[in-house]
Amino acid sequence: MKISLDQFDKAFENRIRLQIMSVLVANESYDFNSLKELLELTDGNLASHLKALEKEAYMEVQKSFIGRKPNTRYSVTEKGRAAFKKHLQALENLIKQQKL
């Protein structure tokens, strides 16, 4: 049975973006390289998805330096957390509907 995707957040239509958000909501913050290793993505690929999520204001970026190495950390915003919850709720509702 096919289900319409109307009630889903467009930003999470892409699987990788949903995965990034899953990591961010479970952690206070996460750095670029750890995220890259965990999700097994290339620099460019990860960066483009992060940019998209940042544009939605679902997460924020903190840039700092550890010694001389740049360290970029990402953390979820309240808006992003709410959107992620809503998206999960929509997924769960679909399962419930189908069981009726």
Binding site: M1, K2, I3, L5, R15, L18, Q19, S22, V23, V25, A26, N27, Y30, D31, S34, E37, L38, L39, L88, L91, E92, L94, I95, Q98
Partner: protein, 199 residues
Amino acid sequence: MEEKDIHAELSSIRDLMERSAKFISLSGLSGVMAGIYALIGAGIGYNLLKTGNYEGDNIVFITELFLVAFAVLIFSIGTGFWLSYKKARKIGRPFWSTGSKRLLINMAIPLVSGGLFTFILIYHGHYGIVAPATLIFYGLALVAGSHYTYSGVKSLGIIEILLGLLAALIPGYGLLLWTIGFGVLHIIYGAVMHFKYDS
């Protein structure tokens, strides 16, 4: 999107949330090995206690006992790192990850405080509460670290704390309760973890 896709999506989200925050390469076998080292150490300690003639020379005995305990600690930590590193390689996860760093830092705070406190106890000659203190602080370290690895570690920590309190309550059973806490419990928990997660 079909129902099984949604289930797959939800379980991949859950898996990522878990994996990103926790260190799950902790090797069960290293727990078993730590238990065995502790049993050997306790055996040596017991022999020192029985055969040694330490009248009026208590400091030699304490030093020997301390060296044995220190060797047990070093071997246990070494084996833990080595086997967990191997497990991480095997399952293709980074060993030095956000999860492992948090686990180390959160365990190190109670462990280092406990270690220093134990030194101070020995320095002041309060030998009787050394075994209870090491059990209690180790238990606290496990409880603190349990948020960043398998949740079963928390119940092990609570049992270690209870054993430590019991050892403090009834003097003279320090070595026995220490042997149970660091030896027997590690072997049981390590074996359970090994069969539950490693194989």
